[in-house]
């Protein structure tokens, strides 16, 4: 398929936009896509950069960039079991923080095209106050989570919760002996 813009090169990037329920597809070669993105023109047209990104990711995984239900190749996130296919299906969204490590190569490469830097230069969260009540609250949250996992027969996840609860119990014990409210 030829690029819609220059009509010379092979189109490698396929952008789908859904507008009033209709699918509009634009096919661009890498050069033209880069040029358009440099001018922010894709975004100005309402295109989702994330989709452009993850079409590129699919190429990196050695696949046709077009959406296709294929057998998946490339890595799978050990935590949420996300794959390139799933990322594409979800418009470039990852399944969990661990995905950033799993798909590191492609994400770092493509991020540099959208982001102005590679390191965070902004604020950080105010220190999460770790008191007996917040630990107890987290423990209660995990207990409910544990029950939910058991009822769904997800024993691996349940075991993770159980271990974390044991850890929190130890933390609560030491807080009690330290005289409460100490930092982590």
């Amino acid at each position: 398929m030829l690029c819609d813009r220059c009509k010379k090169n092979e189109a490698t990037i396929h952008i789908e936009k859904i507008h009033n329920g209709k699918r509009i597809r634009t096919n661009l070669c890498t050069e033209c896509a880069k040029e358009q993105e440099a001018g922010g023109a894709l975004a100005a047209l309402g295109f989702n950069i994330a989709e452009v990104l993850f079409n590129k990711m699919q190429q990196a995984a050695g696949k046709q960039p077009v959406r296709q239900e294929n057998t998946h190749r490339g890595p799978e996130c050990p935590r949420c079991h996300w794959t390139f296919d799933k990322i594409t299906k979800h418009n470039g969204r990852l399944g969990c923080p661990e995905c950033y490590r799993t798909f590191d190569n492609v994400i770092t490469d493509t991020l540099s095209k959208v982001q102005r830097g590679v390191f965070h230069a902004g604020k950080r969260p105010v220190d999460h106050e770790r008191t007996m009540s917040t630990v107890a609250f987290e423990r209660e949250r995990l207990r409910l989570e544990l029950e939910a996992h058991v009822s769904r027969e997800e024993y691996e996840e349940a075991a993770v919760c159980r271990d974390r609860i044991a850890q929190l119990d130890r933390e609560l014990e030491s807080m009690k002996s330290d005289g409460a409210g100490a930092e982590e």
């Binding site: 859904i18 975004a43 309402g46 989702n48 102005r116 965070h120 230069a121 902004g122 950080r124 409910l144």
Partner: protein
């Protein structure tokens, strides 16, 4: 926290359009922060029951935060609401369409003055948003920052020293910050300068979108300008960079209007006058046509062409003519043809009153 009622909200004028926006060209400023809780999958990978559970956790933590008179908040659960009520919240810019359609386990907290809202389990666990009339990104950022700090004391965010706040989509990572200003640019559009302006804004690394965000058209010459990059700059730098560009665009628009007035006054007055005539005399009008006409009349009001049309009223119509608001005021669901008739009545009444 008290459960919210759409009927209560709708009794007030829309927060971000409240009276006397000092700047006619910049309609409203918005800020959004994407945040996720540590130790959870992102919403799109979560089970429904886990999403509902996380929503409860957030509401619990939110009630525990001490807000010290920062306004009253109410909570909505989209999965327990009817379609019209959900659409009303979207039309008032309190929630995204996505939150309202992927609603299982989704939540929404709204400050009753409608200047702030928090979406739970949309693309990220939390989307903290603030909105105000006019062009005021600096003060809005301070307010948003404080809200975020208070929340972060109650729950542990997913945060990485190198990449900052971890988000479901890599396009938001780092600050998770999106700042945007909604601009009314009919002058540039009438002067055929809008395409080159958008291109120029793009070259400066900002995105331009229509009224309802990503993928929507720029009906009525309303444009949202926002930052694209979220990583590598501080929040303050992002706010300043966007503000600088916005000030420039406002100056261009003002210049375009002055040029039109000097060079082709009849065309300008004709454009505004015909739109006014349509709204004043229509008996059936679609949403897009009404928006286009309102946009033109708004230009006229901003340029002092009328002595009997009030800007607040025009601003409010921008929201009131939308489908869900029309149906809400009719107290029933209406087919599209019925809505067109009601919308026309609303416009006629507004412009025939001749009140200042």
């Amino acid at each position: 926290m008290k459960s919210g009622s759409v009927d209560d909200l709708i009794r007030n004028p829309v927060g971000f359009l409240r009276p006397d926006t000092p700047e006619g060209i910049a309609i409203s400023s918005r800020i959004r922060l994407a945040r996720n809780l540590a130790g959870h999958l992102f919403p799109c990978a979560m089970q429904e029951t886990d999403r509902a559970f996380l929503r409860d956790t957030v509401e619990h933590a939110f009630s525990a935060a001490r807000w010290r008179g920062k306004g009253r908040w109410v909570v909505f659960h989209p999965d327990e609401m009817n379609q019209v009520d959900r659409d009303v919240l979207v039309e008032r810019h309190m929630a995204s369409r996505e939150l309202m359609s992927e609603s299982k386990g989704a939540g929404l907290m709204v400050r009753v003055d409608e200047g702030a809202s928090i979406m739970v389990n949309e693309e990220d666990h939390l989307r903290i948003q603030t909105i105000r009339p006019g062009f005021c990104l600096g003060t809005l950022w301070e307010e948003t920052n404080e809200l975020d700090d208070r929340l972060s004391m109650q729950m542990e965010y997913a945060y990485d020293e190198r990449t900052g706040y971890v988000t479901s989509c890599p396009t938001n990572i780092g600050t998770g910050l999106r700042v945007s200003v909604m601009l009314h640019l009919p002058g540039l559009a009438l002067s055929n300068l809008i395409a080159s302006t958008i291109q120029g804004i793009g070259k400066l690394g900002l995105a331009v979108r229509g009224l309802y965000g990503e993928g929507s058209d720029n009906i009525g010459n309303l444009f949202q300008v926002s930052n694209q990059s979220t990583l590598g700059e501080s929040e303050g730098q992002i706010v300043r960079r966007v503000s600088d560009v916005i000030s420039q665009v406002i100056a261009y628009e003002r210049n375009a209007r002055a040029t039109l007035l000097a060079n082709d006054k009849p065309s300008l007055y004709d454009f505004v006058g015909r739109a006014y005539g349509t709204l004043r005399h229509c008996h059936r009008i679609g949403c897009n046509e009404a928006l286009k006409c309102l946009s033109a009349v708004r230009l006229g009001v901003d340029m002092d062409m009328f002595d009997n049309v009030d800007m607040t009223k025009v601003n409010e119509l921008f929201v009131a003519i939308n489908p869900a608001h029309l149906q809400k005021s009719a107290h029933c669901e209406l087919p599209s043809s019925e809505r067109d008739v009601r919308r026309a009545t609303l416009c006629r009444e507004c412009f025939s009153e001749r009140s200042k």
